[in-house]
């Protein structure tokens, strides 16, 4: 069996202390394999954002372990954790995904440049990523010259540039209309089919339909799981 790209092992996250302590996540275990897209659903306050923060190494579990590409986030020093986030994890939010003063190719190449790669090398990787998604014509466009759907697809390309194989998406279709939103999710699905691992947080069942597995959270616990295939 292949090594999961993301593992949450019995993760609990408690915010605050004493009487005011809130158990935002309570003994949650999730694995995402290469090629797999997992959706996380649940009402507001169920722990979806906490789970995403742990999965993206933006936060550490109070107990349990988060393992990203074989590295346990709790055992890394802060600078190694930052490097892990930069190299291994891509994030797509609802909006504010792209830097307005950079072209699509520059936006996609940015994580590589931050990691010390040469500009030409980053550009080559960015153009390649756009080509894989059939978005070649967007390379030199600025965000304000692209539609919302195009921007989100570029954001997915950036999330998976270089050696990144884990994409975390938080309501990535935001305010897009349903047809354009479907186009964005189709790209996310295609990247996962090509070997990436995806974790999609959504409250739209329709979006979760694109996933291989759907996990339901309530009060910080996994209460249900649906497998489509």
């Amino acid at each position: 069996m292949t090594e999961p790209i993301l593992q949450l092992i019995d993760c609990t996250r408690v915010h605050g202390q004493g009487e005011t302590a809130v158990r935002a996540l309570d003994g949650v275990s999730v694995q995402v394999q290469p090629g797999e897209l997992v959706a996380v659903m649940g009402p507001s306050g169920s722990g979806k954002s906490t789970l995403l923060n742990l999965a993206g190494a933006l936060d550490l579990p109070t107990s349990g372990q988060v393992v990203i590409s074989g590295q346990s986030t709790s055992q890394l020093r802060p600078d190694d954790l930052a490097a892990l986030r930069r190299r291994k994890v891509g994030v797509v939010f609802q909006d504010l995904n792209l830097i307005p003063s950079l072209t699509a190719a520059e936006n996609i190449g940015l994580p590589l440049e931050l990691d010390g790669r040469r500009v030409s090398e980053a550009r080559r990787a960015a153009v390649g990523a756009l080509h894989e998604l059939g978005l070649d014509e967007l390379a030199d466009r600025y965000p304000d010259q692209m539609s919302g759907g195009q921007q989100q697809r570029v954001a997915i390309a950036r999330a998976l540039v270089g050696e990144r194989r884990l994409v975390l998406a938080d309501e990535p279709t935001g305010a897009l209309d349903s047809v354009t939103g479907d186009g964005v999710l189709a790209v996310l699905r295609a990247r996962c089919d090509a070997g990436a691992a995806g974790l999609l947080v959504t409250h739209e069942a329709r979006h979760a339909g694109w996933a291989d597995r759907v996990i339901y959270l309530r009060d910080g616990k996994v209460v249900d799981e649906a497998v489509g295939r």
Binding site: P43, L133, G134, V179, D182, A190, E204, G209, V227, R229
Partner: protein, 229 residues
């Protein structure tokens, strides 16, 4: 009734015999409503009796009789396109009945009923999404603005209806689950003697230190989760 009107709509494009009408009907409705040719001829006979279609000449070499619309038939089709379909009469729905009974039957775990149904619905939604993906250009991610052929557009219309129906069902299940969680509190507490909102909120108020509950949601637990979706 929709099948006779659908046949009239097809005949408004020109005369056709029964087998042709059957094939056109199935192709243009996403193959979601199969007809048998006998049913088509029975319907044509009824439409002929009602003066909406007439035989367009005699039988051909293979004995097939083409039919065409009369003026009355053409008017009927026109009215159909103009008039909204009456959706105000709810269909008899087993799930609605089952869940309505489940929440009112003390020894039934309505949460479990919801959970099982949700798992099945989600898996169905995932399968439909897969089917949709297969419908759009197989092997490549769909473009933002797809330009489907008329036939595939019909297929898509029918498939999308099924997707939206399952999505709607999932949202309804989530909502009912939220309602259950909110309504549970008074069952374990002493039953209020008066059920008016103001009296109920006074009964349910857990302590003087906590702000009074919103009278519009009189029955809720202090720690009830947010059920917005």
């Amino acid at each position: 009734m929709s099948v006779p009107l659908s046949l009239l709509a097809l005949l408004s494009q020109g005369p056709a015999y029964g087998a042709r009408i059957k094939a056109d009907f199935e192709e243009r409705t996403g193959r979601a409503f199969p007809l048998n040719v006998g049913q088509v001829y029975t319907t044509l006979a009824r439409l002929e009796r009602d003066g909406l279609v007439v035989a367009d000449g005699g039988p051909d070499d293979e004995g097939r009789i083409p039919y065409r619309l009369t003026d009355a038939g053409r008017a009927e089709v026109g009215t159909w396109w103009e008039r909204p379909v009456d959706r105000t009469e709810p269909a008899r729905d087993e799930l609605v009945m089952k869940l309505a009974l489940a929440v009112a039957t003390p020894d039934v775990d309505a949460h479990a009923v919801i959970q099982h149904q949700r798992t099945a619905a989600m898996a169905h939604l995932q399968r439909l999404t897969r089917a949709k993906l297969a419908l759009s250009a197989p092997g490549s991610p769909p473009q933002t603005e797809p330009v489907p052929t008329p036939t595939s557009l019909s297929d898509e219309v029918v498939l999308e209806h099924r997707l939206y129906a399952v999505e709607s069902e999932l949202r309804w299940l989530d909502h009912v689950e939220g309602l259950l969680l909110h309504r549970r509190a008074p069952q374990s507490a002493p039953a209020p003697s008066v059920t008016l909102p103001s009296a109920a909120s006074a009964t349910a108020a857990p302590s003087a230190a906590r702000p009074a509950p919103d009278p519009s949601t009189p029955i809720s637990r202090p720690a009830a989760p947010d059920t917005r979706h």
